[in-house]
């Protein structure tokens, strides 16, 4: 069986800085994979390379057997890869429902023609109803239906985090990438989030997350990739990672 996501010898240079160098990794359907590494290890860059935000300097990325390197972010997204951002990016001047509907309409585009005349034929009405249904389902999944009409900017930080995830879920992705979902959350909130991510995973969604919170990553991930200085230094089950010499060295340094 081929892997859902295959990263082959991927590298990315920014001027003289090798942000990601020759990383090969994969994610299988149904996995929950963690990506960790010290600051500046290239985790977010790797996410940007997968989602099409940053062009590759070398290597290739394939998703569901199809090469996706070189595609635009919106093309990658429509193939079923959905992401959240490290620095929370909701659409502040839009309602919570409208925010989520963008995810749904991104995956199920409604064109200008559909907006103008969709109400007059069955196909158009069905499309609108489906977008609305997916949006509500995503809001329901994160428990934000009660604030659907609220402006996103007015939501407290924690709820905006869930809103961003709901927007990604409304795309009905096959593969969800979460970039530091627990950043800025307190312990209780982080525990709730961990339970939530596990629940999503339990429903069959393939997830990859970057996280600094080790208890979160170790607690829920089945497999962990470790990056340091742009290179993959370890790949294995949480227990193996915890005792891996290279990982300890990267995080703690070694006496010389």
């Amino acid at each position: 069986m081929t892997h859902l996501l295959e990263i082959r010898n991927v590298s990315r240079r920014f001027g003289g800085v090798q942000a990601v160098g020759d990383v090969t990794a994969h994610v299988d359907e149904g996995e929950l994979v963690g990506l960790i590494g010290p600051n500046g290890a290239g985790k977010t860059t790797l996410f940007n390379l997968i989602s099409g935000f940053t062009p590759l300097s070398g290597g290739s990325v394939a998703f569901a057997g199809r090469t996706i390197s070189g595609l635009k972010p919106n093309q990658v997204a429509r193939l079923g890869i959905s992401r959240t951002f490290q620095n929370l990016r909701v659409f502040p001047n839009m309602s919570v429902f409208d925010n989520v509907s963008v995810g749904a309409v991104g995956a199920l585009p409604q064109g200008a023609f559909g907006a103008l005349f969709g109400g007059f034929h069955k196909g158009g009405r069905n499309r609108s109803a489906e977008i609305s249904r997916r949006s509500w389902e995503a809001l329901e999944a994160v428990g934000l239906t009660h604030v659907a009409a609220e402006l996103a900017a007015n939501l407290p930080y924690g709820q905006r985090k869930y809103l961003e995830i709901a927007r990604a879920l409304a795309m009905r992705p096959r593969f969800l990438i979460l970039d530091e979902p627990a950043a800025g959350l307190n312990d209780t909130e982080t525990r709730d989030l961990a339970a939530f991510i596990k629940r999503l995973h339990g429903q069959g969604l393939t997830i990859m997350l970057v996280e600094h919170d080790m208890t979160l990553v170790m607690g829920i991930c089945q497999r962990i990739l470790v990056l340091a200085s742009g290179r993959k230094i370890a790949d294995g089950a949480p227990d193996a990672i915890r005792s891996d010499a290279a990982v300890l060295e990267a995080y703690l340094g070694v006496d010389e």
Partner: protein, 350 residues
């Protein structure tokens, strides 16, 4: 499966009594106002009413591109001009009537917009604004200087008034009804575009275009569409103007007209269609009421815009603060989005 009821995507979650306000507006535009105009029976009042309606359409079309999609457009009046010149030239050179020139004016304006959008759409924020300013000026200069074709500063006399499939509608009341019907239909169409999931996708570009991209929204394509559609409606407004006044000249489509339309959208509130309509009415009717002030009327536009930005950051009904939108766009021009994120970074390309 009744857990998820369908809702209107943008405005609130309940649609109760949503027919009441539109019904009142229709009553006003198609019954009360014409009755009043007929009662006074002065050409000047008809003129003002038609002018206000045409600017309502211009403001509404700009709402689509600037208010909803968040593209600062400084050359809108030029597309209005392209529409007007299309109508005038088709009438004077080929003898075509309003029934034909109306859609053609829209289409030609949209085509011109599409062509100029091809190279400019990838420009970021403030660079896009400057490009639209330049496009507006170029189109204006073509109207002014291509004397063989456009008669230059002399302008063109449009000998035919309104008609529908040969039936003349050039009487005062008939002309008013024609303008009102075309404007109303167009505004309804713009309303459908902006209050739909399509409109939400456009809004997401205004809010954060990179993030919209990650959500599967094809940002460049949608920007093109918003720009082209808004030019189409500006072209339609141009055709109305040409047949209404019977004479057009380049002066009607100068940069200051673009700014006037922008002021309407900003005063009404970026992102709000009712706001754009109210802004247009305000900035057309207020100066007419202040005719006694003479040339000082022109200062009014700037003053109203200045005060509204200062005192009503979001305009009367807006979704976004105009100042914040502009500031963000200025910021985006030289904001470092990460070291070496792409070619030509920092010079306004994306």
């Amino acid at each position: 499966m009744n857990a998820f009821e369908t809702v209107a995507p943008t405005d609130g979650l309940s649609r109760r009594r949503s027919w009441l306000v539109p019904a009142l507006i229709l009553l006003l535009v198609f019954a009360a106002l014409p009755a009043l105009l007929a009662g006074f029976d002065r050409g000047y009042f008809y003129q003002i009413a038609n002018l206000a309606l045409i600017f309502v359409l211009l403001s509404a079309s700009m709402h689509l591109v600037t208010g909803v999609a968040g593209l600062l457009h400084l050359g809108h009046a030029a597309f209005y001009g392209v529409g007007a010149y299309t109508a005038a030239l088709l009438t004077s050179k080929l003898g075509l009537g309003f029934t034909v020139t109306l859609p053609l004016s829209g289409l030609v304006a949209a085509l011109v917009a599409f062509l100029v959008a091809l190279p400019t759409m990838r420009l970021v924020s403030i660079y896009f604004a400057v490009a639209t300013l330049a496009i507006g000026q170029m189109l204006y200069l073509v109207m002014l200087n291509w004397v063989d074709f456009t008669k230059g500063p002399n302008g063109i006399i449009v000998s035919k008034g309104f008609e529908l499939f040969g039936v003349s509608l050039s009487g005062r009341l008939a002309a008013y009804y024609t303008v009102a019907a075309v404007v109303t239909l167009s505004v309804v169409a713009i309303g459908r575009l902006s209050h739909s999931y399509y409109g939400n996708a456009l809004r997401s570009i205004r809010e954060d275009d990179q993030c919209a991209d990650a959500m599967g929204v094809s940002t460049v394509r949608l920007k093109m569409e918003a720009f082209t559609l808004s030019a189409f409606f500006a072209g339609v407004a141009g055709s109305l103007w040409a047949h209404m006044t019977g004479y057009i000249s380049p002066g009607d489509f100068k940069f200051s007209e673009s700014i006037l339309i922008l002021a309407m959208v900003v005063v009404g509130g970026l992102g709000s269609l009712p706001g754009a309509v109210i802004g247009a009415l305000l900035l057309i009717l207020l100066p007419e009421g202040l005719r006694a002030l003479g040339d000082f009327r022109n200062i009014m536009v700037g003053l109203v815009m200045f005060l509204s930005i200062l005192l009503l950051p979001k305009g009367l009904l807006g979704e976004v603060s105009a100042l914040r939108l502009v500031r963000r766009q200025l910021g985006a021009a030289w904001r470092n989005t990460g070291p070496g994120t792409g070619k030509g970074e920092g010079i306004g390309w994306r």
